[in-house]
Amino acid sequence: MNGLNSRALALIALRFAPLMLFVALCIVFGALSDRFLSLANFRNILAQSTHVAVMAIGMTFVLLVRGVDLSVGSVMYLVAVAMGLYLSGLPLALSIPAIVLIGAAFGAVNACFVTGLRIASFIVTLATLFIGRGFALYLSETKMVFQSDTVQTLGRSSFLAIPWAIWIAAAVACAAWVTLTQTPYGRQIYAVGADPDSAAKAGIRVQPIVFSVFCICGACAAIGALISVSQVGAAAATFGYQEEFPVIAAAVLGGTSLFGGRGGVFGSIFGAVLVQTTANGLVMLNADPYLYPLVNSLIIFIAAWVDGRRRLMTERIEQRKIRVEA
């Protein structure tokens, strides 16, 4: 009994490990920089983390069914290029649906390989990561792609004193939360992630579900691109480069398992804020830029480690149901 309790405690501790990490980071950064703990900076962090948050929400869907999408950074760049070069004349009411469609279509390509040819999503999206960026670079001729005034205005303006980026992220989060928790489709995603074979036996259409989550992830990456590019105003050839790392790290730090079946929207948002807080803190401290990748990888490592431990422990708890005849 004791063993079980201490294990349950350890599980809870692991669950809150990212939160403790967040608090610890805030204390360290706050102590070292007087600008860090200010309302303006906090607002800044929130605004900066919105695009990662939106993309991490999309990633959560894919991770829930045991997949991964490495191509989100390339989708970002492709969408930014398409917006700047071809959609700049359109009003936002048309261009936003258009880019969401582009993102979803890109996700559908990934999904075709994953569900149709049964190739591991890790490999498929590694390939489309290069294909997507390559294609976009071909379109942009590696030149800086400037965005229309409408897009740039979106990045600078607010509604009810809250930046549009946050409104968009909140809308995506709400839609995703409702989908995952309040619809049959959402609950079936969790079932597929827990055990795809059993899900098929339980009468769930597994392949269409797997297909759809990649589309959702692509669409979210497109929205992330819109938010990010509206804040920056232009997309350089490195726009969205390696963005998959903070996105996956955010989702996993937020408690979404790389092994499928566990996770949620709000965790991913929190993860995104945590990732952005680190980046922001390092800037505030004027840290050596060469240190950034080291710190980022450390955070990813912690996230993966916590996830692995949690899985191991939940498995043990599952196994160790000692059957006592009462």
Binding site: Q182, Y190, R323
Partner: protein
């Protein structure tokens, strides 16, 4: 409407040119239980998978309530009212009870509205749980429920789909006696409600007790069918194996006065698991371990193999006192362990039979300082061993372990340990879920090992099996040893009461 719910006629099915079902015919009346028995690989699962929409038939006719049906998926079968409760349950531990029950037909907030109606979900789930007498909250995650209750959830799920036919495939393998009793009671209730049941089990006593009709399959053919009254357990066994096994256990030369102690355990304790366990296992001896689930027998085995820790006591192998055990150390001292969970822990399901067999011997059988692998030698060793335990497979170097029947899988697990020529072999439920014929072969392998001087710790929940195989039986209960019994004083009643005695 006729009394007949299901009529299967002339069913044929081949895999890769091997005919696994030959002209199978079955009939099932409304509100009755059909017991289906047969050895592993006799075609029971194939037949049921066709009914449940997992496989498609080559030819033949399946009629449900007089209409020909051809389910193409589990989903189709469910829509027809055929629910298939697999041996490994299709439940999702990360979802709640209610979500599991209604996973593919959630009540919605209205036509065309894609949202789950949580209140109706809870109400309907509560009603379904009442039908199977399960007193848990519908919002409990399935992760927290024991195996027996999970089975009831599967039944509740079938009931919410208005199942007319429920197929149970080996439902009791992971249930305690109490849970089994409860399951039988519910099957009786289903029957009273006019639901038909197909019950597949290797435990023939259960089949005799539950069924109205019985059908026996052998090598893909129905070799016997009729009312329960027409059968006896002995006749079922004869039909299943095609020859009369007058002895369920092979003859063994009584141990030529067992040798010295191979394994001696003194005062072994681990809080909450085992307490003050002392015994001696001699060379050339089969020491049976009996006890109810949760008596600590499997836990003891795990400790002896170094999988779990112990806080007090000593373990000696061949007289040498061992430091705290680790599996590697135990293996180096000649200990082998056959786990009770062969799917989860004993086999690499996707790897070939040969790869599975040589796995624990790779290091010992490699050559030179760099430990080069010796593919030809390994291959030969795997072949010899597969032949020795008589694994029934077409190609041991290419066929995946997953493709084997349960009995053959178990032989592969035994083979992989035998290759290390263990001097002490701990067998935890070596014959669980395998058929009579395969059991007999496992017993023969045990006898050969013992004749070669190995010591066997044989853990089993089937008392008959221990009585038939063991030289001595050690009874455990609540983590303690309740007593030792010599072969001369083996007696079902005495052993049972020793296990039950508080």
């Amino acid at each position: 409407m006729s009394d007949l719910l299901l009529k299967v006629a002339g069913l044929n099915k081949s895999f890769f040119g091997v005919q696994v079902l030959r002209d199978v015919g079955l009939e099932l009346r409304r509100g009755t239980v059909l017991g289906l028995v047969g050895e592993n690989g006799s075609g029971k699962s194939t037949t049921m998978n066709i009914l449940g929409g997992v496989l498609t038939k080559d030819s033949g006719r399946v009629e449900l309530a007089g209409e020909e049906v051809q389910p193409a998926s589990s989903r189709d079968a469910l829509a027809l009212g055929i629910a298939f409760i697999h041996q490994e349950l299709s439940l999702f531990p990360n979802l709640s009870v209610e979500e599991n029950i209604f996973l593919d037909h959630f009540p919605k907030r209205g036509a065309g509205i894609p949202f789950i109606d949580r209140r109706r979900l809870r109400d309907q789930a509560s009603k379904a749980l009442e039908l199977v007498d399960l007193k848990v909250s519908p919002t409990t995650p399935v992760m927290r429920l024991p195996q027996g209750e999970r089975q009831l959830i599967e039944i509740a799920k079938a009931l919410t789909r208005q199942a007319r036919l429920i197929i149970f495939d080996e439902p009791t393998t992971s249930l305690t006696a109490r849970e089994t009793e409860r399951l039988f009671e519910i099957i009786g209730r289903l029957r009273a409600q006019g639901i038909s049941v197909i019950y597949i089990s290797h435990i023939l006593q259960d089949v005799m007790r539950l069924s109205d009709d019985i059908a026996v399959l052998r090598d893909g053919e129905v070799v016997g069918a009729g009312r329960r009254e027409d059968f006896t357990v002995e006749r079922l066994v004869t039909l299943m194996v095609g020859r009369s096994i007058d002895r369920l256990f092979p003859e063994r030369e009584p141990s030529q006065g067992p040798g010295g102690a191979a394994l001696s355990v003194r005062g072994l304790s681990q809080p909450g698991v085992v307490r003050d366990v002392s015994f001696e296992l001699r060379r050339g001896e089969v020491l049976g371990v009996s006890g109810l689930m949760g008596s600590g027998r499997s836990e003891l085995a795990r400790i002896l193999f170094g999988l779990d820790p112990y806080s007090e006591g000593e373990v000696r192998v061949a007289g040498e006192r061992l430091p705290p055990l680790k599996p590697r150390l135990a293996m180096d001292r000649g200990v082998a362990f056959l786990t009770e969970d062969r799917r989860g822990e004993g086999l690499m399901m996707e790897a070939s039979i040969a790869d599975n067999i040589v796995l624990p011997s790779l290091v010992e059988r490699s050559r030179g300082f760099i430990r080069w692998l010796d593919p030809a030698g390994l291959d030969q060793a795997a072949r010899d061993m597969a032949e020795r335990v008589r694994v029934n497979a077409r190609a041991i170097d290419t066929a995946a372990a997953r493709t084997l029947s349960g009995g053959n899988q178990q032989k592969v697990v035994i083979a992989k340990w035998l290759l290390r020529a263990p001097s002490i072999f701990i067998l935890d439920e070596p014959t669980r879920g395998i058929d009579v014929g395969a059991k007999y072969e496992v017993y023969k392998i045990i006898n050969t090992m013992v004749a070669g001087g190995a010591a066997i710790l044989f853990i089993s929940s089937e008392i008959e099996e221990l009585i038939g195989m063991a030289d001595r039986i050690m009874v455990m209960g609540r983590g303690e040893i309740r007593g030792f019994f010599e072969r001369a004083s083996f007696d079902r009643e005495t052993l049972m009461s020793a296990a039950l005695w508080q």
